[in-house]
């Protein structure tokens, strides 16, 4: 093994990568760290909850667990989804509770180097900026990385 190869191998090891589950909402691509994603499922029979905030799509039964579904478009202040296209849900567990983030589509898993994560552009919509951890530049589009805890902090959204 040449010195150069050795050096490259070393570099690969030291460079940190994060895997993201990609999803789209209102045409925008988002990424969620895969470590935080429990599962991806097609939500069925969502029971809406009267008096709940607009971003709460309702509650549903996922294999005996009660999942609180959060409409990502509403949560991020994006245009509402057309009723005819059924959403996909990304299951997230936090503090012993199950949540489902409703997105338009769920795409492939991308492995991206942490070093490539760029800070949020200052002119980004403030609602979006509040829940994102940065931006990854991909071929032809940008992926906004979502901070799961901040997305689930509905209280902050209301304030």
């Amino acid at each position: 093994m040449s010195d150069r190869q050795e050096l490259e191998a070393k570099m690969r090891q030291t460079v940190d990568f994060t895997e993201f589950v990609t999803l789209t909402a209102a045409g925008q691509m988002f990424g969620l760290p895969i470590a935080r994603v429990q599962d991806v499922f097609k939500p069925t029979r969502i029971t809406r909850v009267p008096l709940a905030g607009a971003e709460i799509a309702g509650v549903l039964n996922l294999r005996g667990r009660i999942v609180t579904a959060i409409d990502l478009r509403r949560r991020l202040g994006l245009q509402s989804r057309a009723e005819d296209r059924p959403p996909m849900a990304i299951g997230i567990e936090t503090k012993g509770e199950s949540f489902g983030l409703l997105a338009d589509t769920v795409g492939e898993v991308l492995r991206l180097a942490d070093a490539d994560l760029e800070p949020i552009p200052i002119n980004l919509d403030s609602g979006l900026a509040a829940v994102s951890a940065g931006v990854h530049r991909l071929d032809g589009q940008l992926m906004v990385v979502l901070d799961v805890e901040r997305v689930l902090d509905l209280h902050a959204a209301a304030a």
Binding site: L51, A52, I66, T68, L152
Partner: protein, 832 residues
């Protein structure tokens, strides 16, 4: 930690709690050798174990205490000083135990102070009782005395095992899930008519129910466990406050779920402290008020329906309403003028407001401003209610009502605004159908919807409106709900069924919505929200300023009235004078389209339920409408029906029917005062033969026409309250009895019973035995008996047949019950 040591700590702390309770009793009854024996044994056991585990400090301390107690056992007089000393010894033992638990070894230090005092007292007492020599041999004799007891302990131990609470909790969760799955299967079978599954599923269902019951039982603990610390607390308080207070405990053996027990422990302690501190006066004040110097705080517990009732009562000064009122004004809770109009009960309730305390000075006992609101919140959190009654100078009584178990509850599944919701059955008192034309109509006082229910105005909330699902309609069902002493109606669009639900906690994102208490998964797999009646009642409190009358008075009056009341249907026909007919005789109220009315041979007829039904006018003044809807009263006798044309249906009132003026006019029984106005009471029997020539031959003798009496026997007050109005609404008189014995006594004492509806599962004498007893007596042998059961198995039906039950109805099948009652009473008609 060493297993032995852990076991020792668990056991010792249990024993110490018991010693605490025993000691106070001992002080009150120093001559009760039995109590003394118990305490002695407990201390002795601790001492013995300490020696075995190598805890010398504890051993020395318990030994000294044991010696002194041995003296008492030998007949030494017990002084208050001695009891205090022993109590502080026990405190010391506890603190050492805490240290052991934390550090897993005995802390250093000496207990010379206490041991010396114990020794001094023992010495001091000695000469009064017995010569020294004898004493010294005592401990050894004790040891031999213990042996038979130990042997008995072993025998008991072999019948029971220790199971950790986690294991039980896990078992409960698993069973809860099993119940859910069972419900799902039942739902699937309900949809597919495949009979293959039905029988095994029924079996599975029964087994699940049994399992659920057994697991619930394993979690049951006597409430006395939550009371153990109270005698000590009260004793310490009496000393601290310089009052003489006695704590009476009744029903300590009443069992409830361990989880619930844990949650009520603190509220109970707080209430007892409160009674002792605020309620009971000093001996001087009491004597001056002509009361015994010693005040009493009475704790009692008993089961009722699916609830446990706990009462904390004192015979003290009662609540100072003036001061509470003043404090409420001060806190800005109400204006002074408002206070003046409030009932004592309402003023008392202010003490449950957060931050409310009238204690002029903050004592270490209570009056820290946190308290009663927390007590109420804790109790409501577990689905319970707390109520307060106070009589000036005579004392205050707190009544707590909590469900026996939390994990699985029975719920009514209702529909409102196109969504389904679950309402816990425990807070549902009855269901009333509301319709513009029906018996119960939703009315409005300004904008507040109300329902007239048995002479009382019930404030209503539309579930749909509260949940902002659109405007609520006035057609549907009113779920009469009770929260504490507060009764109100929840208007829903439909009532679907009842289901055993497993309460799942609310998502943290939804917990701020007070109208819901949790979520659950229904048998069909969908998630629905569980309505929190407490939350609704709060909304109601804000939204509808309907004056609340003192519930207790209304209820009493209502009960008394309902005893003899006959439901009457008031209507107008022809003349403006109101007319009335006993509701029990009316089969249905209908409105028919006038175009459907045909005339044949001078008689009016209408096609009704695929048959021709004759229509009759009350008198010549009544005319049949030419267009629109014609209201009619339908009377049925077996397969014949007759429609009586009326102008309008006014109301349904329930009252004693006293026909005051008898008249000689066909079709009129006489006049009676109904709701303040003279009302003609219509003789239906006059009209029936007019429609059918042969009806008269089958007509009943007049005596039979009065409302029949149903004797309702159920040990659960909840079911009695739920079923009685239902039966009453079907046109029967209801006499309720809480047990088979009570029912038999009522019959013996001359209460007429045309029909007996009895719960099958009752303590002491069950429904089957009641039926057998009734059959055995010639005077009651002919009374039909309908059995009610939560679980109907083939064996039960067979047994019912053998003992002569006329019918068997599932407890929640209300329509079935009414149908069965009607059928049995129709049989009586034929027999008569």
């Amino acid at each position: 930690m060493d297993d032995l040591l852990r076991e020792f700590l668990t056991e010792t702390s249990e024993s110490l709690d018991r010693v605490d309770a025993e000691l106070v009793r001992f002080e009150q009854e120093p001559n009760n050798r039995n109590i003394l024996g118990n305490i002695f044994r407990l201390v002795h056991t601790i001492k013995g174990t300490c020696g075995f585990l190598g805890l010398p400090r504890l051993e020395r301390l318990t030994h000294a205490a044991e010696t002194l107690m041995g003296k008492f056992r030998d007949g030494m007089p017990v002084t208050a000083e001695a009891v205090t000393l022993i109590l502080s010894t026990i405190d010391r033992i506890k603190s050492i135990l805490d240290e052991i638990e934390a550090r897993q070894r005995e802390p250093g230090g000496s207990d010379g102070d206490i041991i010396d005092q114990l020794g001094y007292l023992s010495e001091d007492l000695a000469p009064q009782a017995a010569p020294r020599g004898q004493e010294q041999t005592k401990p050894r004799e004790e040891a031999t005395d213990e042996r038979p007891n130990d042997a008995r302990g072993e025998r008991i131990a072999s019948h029971s095992i220790r199971v950790s609470v986690e294991t039980l909790d896990h078992l409960m969760t698993t069973v809860s899930e099993l119940v859910l799955t069972r419900n799902q299967l039942l739902e699937i079978v309900r949809r597919h008519e495949s009979s293959d599954f039905k029988v095994p599923l029924q079996r599975l269902s029964n087994v699940t129910a049994e399992l659920q019951e057994s697991v619930t039982k394993t979690r049951m603990q006597p409430i006395g466990n939550a009371w153990q610390k109270l005698p000590r607390i009260v004793r310490d308080l009496s000393a601290e406050l310089g009052k003489q207070i006695e704590l009476e405990m009744r029903g300590a053996e009443t069992e409830l779920d361990r989880q619930v027990l844990d949650l009520v422990k603190d509220p109970l302690t707080h209430l007892v402290r409160n009674c002792a501190d605020h309620g009971i006066e000093t001996a001087g004040e009491r004597l001056a008020a002509g009361k015994p110097a010693r005040g009493t705080v009475r704790l009692s517990a008993w089961h009722e329906g699916g609830y446990i009732n706990i009462e904390i009562a004192d015979d003290g000064r009662g609540l100072d309403l003036a001061r509470i009122g003043a404090r409420a004004v001060e806190c800005g809770l109400a204006g002074e003028a408002e206070i003046a109009t409030k009932s004592p009960g309402e003023i008392c309730n202010f003490i449950f407001t957060p931050g409310f305390s009238t204690a002029a000075q903050v004592t270490s006992v209570s009056g820290r401003g946190v308290g009663m609101d927390v007590v109420r919140a804790n109790i409501e959190q577990i689905g319970g209610t707390i109520d307060l009654k106070s009589v000036a100078g005579a004392g205050a009584t707190f009544t707590i009502k909590i469900p026996l178990t939390l994990a699985i509850v029975s719920a009514l599944i209702v529909e409102a605004g196109g969504e389904r919701f679950a309402i816990p059955q425990l807070s549902v008192r009855e269901l009333v159908r509301a319709a513009d034309t029906g018996e119960h109509r939703i009315e409005r006082i300004k904008d507040a919807p109300v329902l007239r229910l048995r002479n009382r105005l019930l404030p209503l909330v539309h579930l749909q409106e509260i949940l902002r699902l659109g405007g609520g309609s006035d057609q549907g069902f009113v779920v009469v709900t009770q929260v504490g002493s507060h009764v109100f109606g929840v208007v829903v669009d439909g009532v679907l069924h009842t289901e055993e639900i497993v309460i799942k906690p609310m998502s943290s994102k939804l917990r701020h919505i007070t109208s819901f208490s949790g979520t659950t998964i229904l048998g069909d797999g969908s998630v629905i929200m569980i309505i929190d009646p407490n939350g609704l009642s709060q909304v109601l409190g804000r939204a509808t300023p309907v004056a609340q009358t003192n519930m207790a008075d209304v209820e009493r009056a209502e009960d008394a009235a309902a005893q003899e009341a006959t439901p009457l249907l008031v209507f107008r026909a022809g003349s403006p004078h109101p007319k009335a007919v006993p509701l029990s005789l009316v089969a249905r109220l209908e409105e028919i389209d006038c175009r459907q009315i045909e005339t044949s041979d001078g008689r009016h007829l209408v096609q009704y339920r695929n048959r021709l039904m004759p229509l009759l006018q009350i008198d010549t003044q009544t005319s049949i409408k030419r267009e629109g809807a014609q209201p009619i009263l339908v009377f049925s006798d077996q397969d014949r029906s007759l429609g009586l044309v009326v102008d309008e249906i006014v109301d349904i009132v329930e009252q004693r029917l006293d026909i005051e003026v008898a008249v000689q006019r066909p079709g009129l029984l006489g006049y009676a005062v109904v709701k303040g106005s003279a009302t003609e009471i219509i003789d239906v029997s006059h009209y029936l033969p007019l429609a059918f020539d042969d009806w008269s031959r089958r007509r009943d003798p007049p005596a039979v026409r009065r409302a029949r009496t149903v004797l309702l026997v159920d040990d659960s007050a909840f079911f009695r309250e739920m079923l009685a109005p239902l039966i009453r609404a079907a046109g029967f008189r209801v006499v309720a009895a809480a047990s088979a014995a009570q029912a038999l006594a009522a019959i013996k004492s001359g209460t007429r019973a045309d029909l007996v509806v009895t719960d099958i599962e009752m303590p002491d004498m069950d429904g089957f035995e009641l039926a057998v007893t009734l059959r055995a007596d010639a005077s009651t042998a002919a009374i039909p008996v309908i059995g009610l059961s939560a679980m109907i198995s083939a064996e039960a039906i067979e047994r019912g047949r053998v003992v002569g039950l006329q019918d068997f109805v599932a407890k929640f099948d209300r329509t079935g019950l009414v149908a069965a009652i009607k059928e049995q009473s129709a049989d009586l008609h034929r027999a008569a």
